[in-house]
Amino acid sequence: MNNDANQTLEIVKSGLARRRRRETRFRWYGRIAIFIAMAFLALLLFSILARGISAFQQTYIAVDVYLNPEELAPPTPEHLGKVDFEGLIRQSLRETFPEVTGRRQKRALYRLVSSSAAYELRDWVLQHPDQLGKAVTIWVLAGSDVDMYMKGAVDVSVPEDQRRLKDDQIRWIEQLRQQGRLDLRFNKVFFLNGDSREPEQAGILVAFKGSLYMMIVTLALSFPLGIAAAIYLEEFAPKKNFWVDMVEININNLAAVPSIVFGLLGLAVFLGYFGLPRSTPLVGGLTLTLMTLPTVIIASRAALTAVPPSIREAALGVGASRTQTVFHHVLPLAMPGMLTGAIIGMARALGETAPLLMIGMVAFIVDPPQGLLDPATALPVQIYLWADSPERGFVERTSAAIIVLLVFLGLMNLLAVLLRRRLEKRW
């Protein structure tokens, strides 16, 4: 080794420590960034779960009723519709607490039970006509205040005149609890009901079905349209053509347009011009398709570009036509990427609120939609509506709805991953 080489080595060595330090430092920056991101995610999930998990249980209250056959027979829907079940439940409550007198006191007592209890009792009788003439104990929904108290969400140290639940009511609740007449059970109502003014009766079925229908419409329209557009632009359209360039620029710009603008477009075109019914999943899906389409096209084009040109050459080389080349070779290879793009677009559409507000999907809807043309809301809109409500019972339901939305998203992503796996395995 000569002197020059030794010198070079010295110079390199002297700088080596600094280079290593820089590398280590950079690695730590990366780790810290990831840690911060994960911490925020964990915080978000924790706070949502902590607030919302309790909504998956609901307080039920046991009432004893005597099913008087003289009043209730025959147990047909027409006849039972005229029976005063509310009276029966109130009577049962009065019998449980004989010491309660006075109109105010009694009204406070009746509020322990949800207003839907009468319907629950009626439905129960309809299903069990053989129980007529017997004294039965059935479990009905408790009022939201009771539910909140049972979940420990009522602060008893607050002066009585500043809280909804009065001291008397708390005493009764404790009494009922000791008798085993109050119970936290799985909250079916949350999954089977539509919206309601009463928190304990409010559920997400309308929103869930609305979102599901909209996703179906959006997927069925934006995926084939987006892929067809991407294939044409990428594989067939002449390059360096003014009109093709214009189309490309516009698609890229559309992807960046605020979503509420698409809502306005949907309002003007689908509701205004075509006269489609308001607040329906069909219109919501169409509007979200407009919003999703640019994303799907851009992602699909990226997936097509990623297919190596050698595959196209190979297919053309054995005499495949351009269409055959695309459909036999390019498209199958690009499909996993296209699916990812579509799912990203769908996930964005699922979480979208603003355009739906414009087309009237923000309505208060109790009955679940039976089809694409029935009024419905969407999960994010329902969250928005509940988050606006002052009742304590809606706070946990808001978080619970967010959990459902996140699970929905998670399932969609899982489906995408599974589909990708399957498609990729074929090669």
């Binding site: 050698s310 054995v318 036999h328």
Partner: protein
């Protein structure tokens, strides 16, 4: 580089036409050697190729004979690949590429309106520089061409075509037991032979090979070269190569391209022993390239 340019210019100025072996052209250069032969399979006359404004090939005249191997040699960027891709219109898919002149396959103009590129490419197959099997099974790779052209009416016929093609490509023994395995799992040399099998499965008349061995090791190269020699009995083969030894080993005729011009063409033995043009001589003696 400028010295080479000067050489070309000087040469062009001093060159005298020598009977039928030299072509006259507007560009004022002449191909040395016998570009024209009797009963050619492919015949190219006055072929000019442009990529947008840039001219890539200048007035190429070349005949390609039946059942023989012609090697196209020359330094990088000389236009030999461009010329090769003209022969099955693979240049069609390149935006802004324009081909002028006349290229005839069995006396039929391949750039005429009546010629469907799909049919042309079935008659003129191609093997590429990098092995590019479809990401499918070995069987499907070979069967793809016959399938889309409808060459087999049933599964048995298709099986036969696949077997014959793989046998001709010298790959049958190695893959016979795993036809349903993915082609991408084969070695580089095997993949390239699979690509050859895929190309000959549609029974082309001509097989174009664009540096088929450049991505392969010497042993795989030797196998492919031997294969080319065998395939010569059935097909006309045009091979682009960077290796002059390869050209000398596999080809009967050799064409030397330089800066988009066809400088010299002739019998391989003659070109390598007695090059007439100084550029050819410089190249094959390794003075540049």
């Amino acid at each position: 580089m400028s010295t080479i340019m000067n050489t070309v210019e000087e040469f062009v100025e001093t060159m005298e036409p020598q009977g039928k072996s030299v072509a006259d052209s507007e560009q004022g250069y002449h191909t040395v050697g016998e570009f024209s032969i009797a009963e050619p399979r492919i015949s190219c006359r006055h072929v000019n190729v442009f990529y947008g404004e840039k001219q890539a090939l200048f007035d190429i005249n070349l005949d390609i004979g039946q059942r023989q191997v012609i090697a196209l040699i020359g330094p990088s960027g000389c236009g030999k690949s461009t010329f090769l891709r003209c022969l099955n219109r693979m240049n069609d898919i390149i935006e802004g590429c324009r081909v002028e002149g006349k290229i005839q396959l069995d006396n039929q103009d391949i750039y005429s309106k009546d010629m469907d590129p799909v049919i042309l490419r079935a008659r003129v197959g191609m093997v590429f520089q990098k092995p590019n099997p479809f990401p499918k099974s070995i069987y499907d790779n070979v069967a793809y061409g016959p399938r889309i052209h409808g060459l087999a009416s049933n599964r048995t016929e298709l099986d036969e075509i696949v077997e014959t093609s793989l046998k001709r490509a010298g790959l049958w023994k190695e893959v016979r037991d795993r036809l349903d395995h993915p082609a991408t799992g084969l070695s580089g040399g095997q993949q390239q032979r699979l690509c050859i099998a895929r190309a000959i499965a549609v029974e082309p008349e001509v097989v174009l090979m664009d540096e088929p061995c450049s991505a392969l090791d010497p042993i795989a190269t030797a196998t492919i070269e031997q294969l080319i020699d065998e395939l010569r009995e059935r097909y006309t083969i045009v091979i682009v190569t960077h290796s002059m030894q390869q050209a000398a080993r596999v080809s009967q005729r050799t064409a030397y391209f330089h800066l988009g011009k066809l400088i010299e063409v002739g019998q391989t033995s003659r070109i390598f022993t007695n090059p007439r043009h100084p550029l050819t001589e410089d190249y094959i003696t390794g003075r540049f390239g």
